[in-house]
Point group: C2
Chain length 339, copies 2
């Protein structure tokens, strides 16, 4: 019987260049800067999910930390660099998870963090940003307007703007997840990764393609927020006019060209899933894995549900990337009214 995928291989070769902006040496060095509370997260096979999915499923769990998402791997890099240079403030736009992470990393290093978010962002995420001591500014519009406002604050106040997925630290921070995957003794056939702005996929994808090029890297996005997936397929930036998905963490509509370029180098495929599959995925993770997840974190399971033949008999790892979820909505999704 094979050992589970948590032992470390003594050394990964990682000698296949991807051409992406990311650097594997810098990613390794990032591990020394990121607070250990965010590193070496659980990676384990979840057999109870397998009868319903028809493949071997392992979970990389990024929710058991102080901000309940993977985003702090990136903000730890940004905040430590700013603190080293004597900076005192930082600003970002966020749908909620990056803001929490930047608030946490900033607070640890004496940086004043400002987070700009849509007034329609998930309330529990906004509450946590405030509780972590960040200044929260809300805009009457969607995440793209928040990005514009954050850029304006950065210019006006002369402070660092953290641009998720564009700024290399956000990608290379996320990429440390990839190191933990490729250094596991078990190998995976497929890695399923939520696609929003692109930092998680380009980060993890770069490391997987450098170190374990035989592993398929598949991005998953909701049909209601397909801009980056369409861009990947058309090999040019495609924007959309609006988004319509419960997966607030990946509801972007204006892809960044530099990120798309990286994505084209490291992703083997990009697929869209519908809302019903996302909800079923959340419910399966609750019922069979005992995991509370936000919709974005169920995209990988949703992708399996929508294309079982593709994954049949293969070993799939999916990154459970966040668990900051509105409780009333969550209860309606996984609650007593179903199953």
């Amino acid at each position: 019987m094979a050992r589970p995928p948590t032992d470390r291989a003594p050394e990964s070769r990682c000698d296949k260049p991807t051409g992406a902006r990311l650097d594997t040496g810098r990613i390794r060095a990032a591990r020394d800067v990121i607070d250990p509370v965010f590193l070496d997260t659980p990676l384990y096979r979840c057999e109870a999910l397998e009868p319903g999915l028809g493949c071997t499923v392992s979970i990389k769990l990024e929710t058991a930390n102080p901000v309940r998402s993977f985003k702090a791997r990136g903000t730890e890099l940004v905040a430590s660099q700013l603190a080293d240079r004597g900076k005192e403030a930082v600003v970002c736009a966020s749908a909620g998870n990056l803001g929490q992470a930047l608030a946490w990393s900033g607070r640890e290093r004496g940086l004043a963090a400002t987070v700009v978010a849509s007034r329609h962002a998930t309330a529990t995420k906004l509450d946590r940003i405030r509780a972590l001591g960040a200044r929260l500014e809300l805009v009457d519009g969607d995440h793209e307007l928040a990005r514009e406002r954050a850029a304006a604050i950065s210019k006006d106040e002369g402070i660092r703007l953290v641009e998720d997925s564009l700024d290399i630290e956000t990608c290379e921070g996320a990429a440390t997840i990839g190191l933990e995957l490729v250094e596991a003794l078990s190998s995976f056939d497929v890695v399923l990764i939520a696609l929003g702005g692109g930092a998680l996929v380009t980060g993890v994808g770069h490391v997987v393609k450098s170190c374990a090029p035989g592993t398929e890297v598949i991005c998953v996005q909701p049909e209601g927020a397909p801009a980056m997936t369409r861009s990947w397929h058309q090999r040019r930036v495609v924007t959309t006019g609006s988004t319509d998905t419960i997966a607030d963490g990946v509801a972007a509509r204006r892809p960044i060209l530099a990120v798309l370029d990286d994505l084209l180098l490291v992703a083997d495929d990009a697929v869209l899933v519908d809302e019903a599959s996302i909800i079923t995925g959340m419910r399966m993770l609750f019922e069979h894995a005992g995991l509370v997840v936000e919709p974005s974190a169920a995209l990988g399971i949703a992708a399996i549900l929508e294309d079982r033949d593709r994954f049949a008999g293969r070993h799939v790892v999916t990154i459970v990337c966040g668990s900051n979820v509105d409780l009333d909505l969550y209860r309606s999704w996984v609650g007593t009214d179903s199953l």
Copy 2:
């Protein structure tokens, strides 16, 4: 700002003998035998719980692994020793979590595992024991009858009986959690530990009292299953006629003298909590930490809820020891009908 409690101190002194049966050197060596998927579990501060509890709260999460409880730390020791000696079978009685863990560890090492359980044990735990390939035998009675039947099977078949809390491997496996706590850079004022048979408390308590004797070790048991707590207070074995608690994982009624002796050496206090507090604890862990837990894993939070003044302003760590829970009951406890 203090760093979170995950960095490792370079070396722990651990030079205060407790007199318990456990050996800190063996516990350190156990880390080399236990599959890494069960080690170095998340340890993090959960600030969202703190306003409701009035103290600093860190969580040691033992649910993000293939069996969703801490029990495999012990069964890994047992199974590896048996496999090294060429043994082919093993038997235990279990309320459900030990059985899953022994089934998993046995399967990994080619050991045929038999698990004896009460017919009234939590169905989802029994299902998982079967799914992991163990032979499951049900008895018409409670856990104490299952213990008797397992002992009879051991005698009849000449195979190793694993007695939870009595067998030193079950205590020293659990004790590796203690090493991970004391090697965290942050120190804790109090460790709250679920008390059932006693392996978890004697294990973690031994290490904490050896390595960080200033940290208070408090056992928590339900009022409906108070045998070991009464025994601790009276310093002699006190049995009860029955148990009445939703916390199936700790519903024991016949304490083992050798375990009580250890408990008297390593525990600073033993407290009882009522069922309503356990349910509130489960609900708080769901709502503020995004954690699905079984009732036994909420005992620590319940203890804070019942004695806020005792913990006010202190840094408390609680071990979230399992998440194998009946879904319908769980939904009724944390569901839409409340809050």
